[in-house]
């Protein structure tokens, strides 16, 4: 039962509290790049629609957390990265997987439990991993990925590389000790990691104001650790892209005196990305805690929906035609449909694979060394 204070996140003010930039990074994007971003969002949308369908047909089992509504968050942030900047996220990871360039066929096959899946069917929906694309998963324990993100940042700095790690978390993770410990450790060592809060206002069925102290002041959470803060409208892919462009640049090449460098430079950042998920927490969620109809309508509202917003903007500014946009959406639908077909037709993971990949160096005949799916080796 929703209360007066349970408004969708996208209807709340999302003005950045940082000084506005004179020149926005998105101004430098070509129409082709913008169409590319649109195409990625559409692929995520259509893929997720197919996931939902497959789940109700019981072809996908377990838990399935749909990213619809949050497309701009993954696409806008990842578009500001280099391909080798590592990312790690929680269980609502299909969007990040696809935005990162993972093969939709392999992702769908993974959820169908097939050998052609990115983890040979042994991970499932919540565990999308892709080594060549620096996608470090897909993690199911709320907040459990936060220390992993610190580890990625630490390793980058240790190797004296010029990369940035992005660690995504939901607003539910704000209440986990792992988040706070990770923020602290990232701050004291000036790690090149950005903690990305995908703030959709709900941890499962619990509205944020019921679970998180100071939920209307996310900057305080960064201030608590002396960390840079930024926020953006996660329903607006260009606003998201701008925000991440500036923060990724500031974090890249972070050094720390504590780690033996001459000076502290750069450092981590906490970004509050305000967004909405249209569907329930997972496919098993009847959404009794909010007015489902409000969220069902969002995809039709160009002032809210990330895809529609960009479409209207591109057409209004004559950067794209309706025909180009329809083509993109058809491509997305086609790719999603092919992913389902590929998954359906792929063979089941053979039983022998039950015992592989437990150890890199197995010590008994029961456990065998496995080979990763060659596309992901």
């Amino acid at each position: 039962m929703s209360t007066a204070t349970d408004q969708p996140m996208s209807t709340k003010s999302t003005k950045s509290k940082q000084a506005p930039q004179a020149i926005r990074a998105s101004d430098a994007l070509s129409p082709q790049q913008k169409l590319d971003m649109l195409g990625r969002m559409m692929l995520i949308r259509r893929f997720e629609e197919r996931c939902a369908q497959s789940y109700t047909q019981t072809k996908i089992g377990g838990f399935c957390h749909i990213y619809i509504g949050q497309e701009a968050t993954a696409v806008g942030s990842i578009y500001a990265l280099n391909q080798d900047d590592p990312i790690v996220t929680a269980y609502r990871d299909h969007g990040h997987a696809l935005a990162r360039g993972m093969d939709p066929n392999a992702c769908m096959a993974e959820m169908y439990g097939k050998i052609t899946g990115c983890a040979k069917g042994k991970g499932g929906s919540m565990h999308m991993f892709d080594k060549p694309n620096a996608m470090f998963g897909g993690h199911a324990i709320v907040g459990g990925q936060c220390p992993l993100g610190a580890g990625l940042g630490f390793a980058i700095q240790y190797n004296r590389e010029d990369k940035v790690a992005l660690c995504y978390l939901g607003d539910g993770a704000l209440n986990q000790g792992a988040f706070h410990e990770s923020m602290n450790i990232a701050a004291i060592w000036n790690l090149p990691v950005i903690y990305v809060l995908e703030n959709n206002g709900y941890s499962m069925g619990t509205a944020i104001h019921r679970g998180t102290a100071g939920s209307d002041n996310m900057k305080a959470k960064a201030d608590a650790y002396g960390m840079r803060y930024d926020e953006c409208n996660g329903m607006d892919v260009m606003d998201t892209y701008d925000c991440f462009s500036r923060q990724v640049e500031l974090t890249r090449g972070s050094t720390s005196k504590a780690q033996g460098f001459d000076q502290d430079k750069g450092g981590p950042c906490f970004i509050n990305v305000v967004t909405d998920r249209y569907m329930g927490h997972s496919m098993s969620d009847p959404q009794k805690y909010r007015d489902k109809k409000v969220y069902d309508q969002m995809k039709k509202d160009g002032s809210i929906d990330p895809i529609l917003r960009l479409v209207e903007d591109l057409i209004d500014t004559k950067q794209a035609t309706q025909e180009q946009i329809d083509d993109l959406d058809n491509q997305a639908k086609q790719q999603a449909m092919e992913a389902v077909k590929f998954a359906d037709e792929s063979p089941d993971t053979p039983l022998e694979e039950l015992f592989t990949d437990v150890y890199v160096n197995p010590f008994d005949p029961q456990h065998k060394k496995g080979e990763p799916n060659p596309d992901f080796a």
Binding site: F129, F136, G144, A150, N361
Partner: protein
């Protein structure tokens, strides 16, 4: 293989030798934990390492077990080789999600893409009057988990050899050391049972063997014998050897086996011994219910039931939280007197 008859080397020094030698050869290895750097280690295991390797590689962490354990997992996934020190394995419980839900599962759930070549090490076991929450013996709990390897050194020789293997292993390893044993070896042979004399407790000098390692899954017969197989690991080895010394005078000739690793578990050595002796006692300093001892007993029954002339007796800690008072704590442990009683009982000499 050379043993050094008059070497004086503490258990803690042997651990440090292992880490130093490996870190000198492989820049990907770093050590992280509470007080490991500027404090020189809460228990002086990492003494001098900050001076040699610098703050990049020897890192003082805040008291955040979840964060630094998970950081180790993440860094290992990225390609580094972390050594994460728990000041006590009692504190690992704070990091449980990272060390038993993330570290051992990463390779499997990524379909073989991302492993976790990290070593988690620290003091394990009761005996310092540290109270019930500081006296954990974690091997029985964690040995359940596929994807982990668990090494339990009992001597400075084990400490060096097993830790080097652990660091080189591409899988996550829990190295369970013992606060009570850290100083063992300061007085050389005098600190150990006569069965270990002649420097058998010590690793070879680095100049004699620069690459000394002990493989996982190979138990060591510390004292051969014909009358009763005594299976043990870690600090409990010394309780077993003390019992064996006393029983020798009663005409009972024990064969004492130091398992060294519990995952992998070298049952081949145990079974070969049981076929010779027909009797088996396991000495395990964790609690009784579903302990490593229970597992060794079960596997012994599976593999050598017909060779046994009596049940397997497992000597554990008493099934209680660790008490503070010195005499109570000492009574709780699987001390030599309990071990001797068990051996007498199982061989029908009680």
């Amino acid at each position: 293989m050379v043993s050094t008859t008059d070497r004086k080397l503490e258990f803690r020094d042997a651990l440090r030798e292992a880490m130093n030698e490996e870190m000198r050869q492989d820049d990907r290895i770093f050590l992280m934990g509470e007080e490991v750097a500027q404090y020189n280690g809460a228990y002086k295991v990492s003494k001098g390492m900050l001076d040699e390797f610098g703050p990049r590689r020897v890192v003082d962490s805040p008291i955040s077990e979840t964060a630094f354990s998970g950081l180790g997992v993440g860094a290992a996934m990225y390609g580094l080789r972390p050594i994460i020190e728990f000041m006590s394995w009692s504190f690992c419980l704070v990091a449980a999600d990272q060390i038993i839900n993330n570290a051992p599962k990463m390779l499997y759930m990524s379909g073989g893409q991302f492993g976790c070549p990290a070593v988690f090490r620290g003091n394990n076991g009761a005996g310092g009057q540290l109270g019930s929450t500081h006296s954990w013996c974690v091997e029985s709990m964690f040995s359940q988990v596929p994807g982990l390897k668990i090494a339990i050194p009992a001597t400075p020789r084990d400490a060096k050899g097993l830790l080097k293997t652990a660091i080189r292993d591409d899988d996550p390893v829990f190295n369970l050391e013992s606060e009570r044993m850290l100083g063992a070896g300061a007085r050389g042979d005098k600190d150990f049972s006569r069965y270990l004399s002649g420097g058998r407790w010590a690793p070879p000098l680095p100049e004699d063997d620069a690459d000394f390692t002990i493989p996982f899954g190979k138990a060591e017969i510390v004292k051969p014998g014909d009358d009763c197989t005594v299976v043990t690991f870690g600090r409990a080895l010394h309780f077993a050897l003390e019992a064996a010394e006393a029983l020798e005078e009663e005409g009972i000739d024990c064969e004492v086996i130091n398992m060294r690793t519990v995952r992998p578990l070298d049952m081949d050595t145990v079974i070969k011994s049981v076929r010779k002796t027909s009797y088996c006692v396991v000495v395990d300093q964790s609690w009784p219910f579903a302990s490593i001892g229970s597992e060794v007993a079960k596997q012994t029954y599976d593999l050598a039931l017909d060779d046994l002339d009596n049940k397997v007796i497992v000597v554990n800690n008493d099934d209680v939280p660790a008490p503070y008072a010195k005499h109570l704590e000492a009574a709780m442990l699987p001390h030599a007197k309990k071990v001797a009683e068990a051996i007498r009982a199982v061989t029908y000499n009680a």
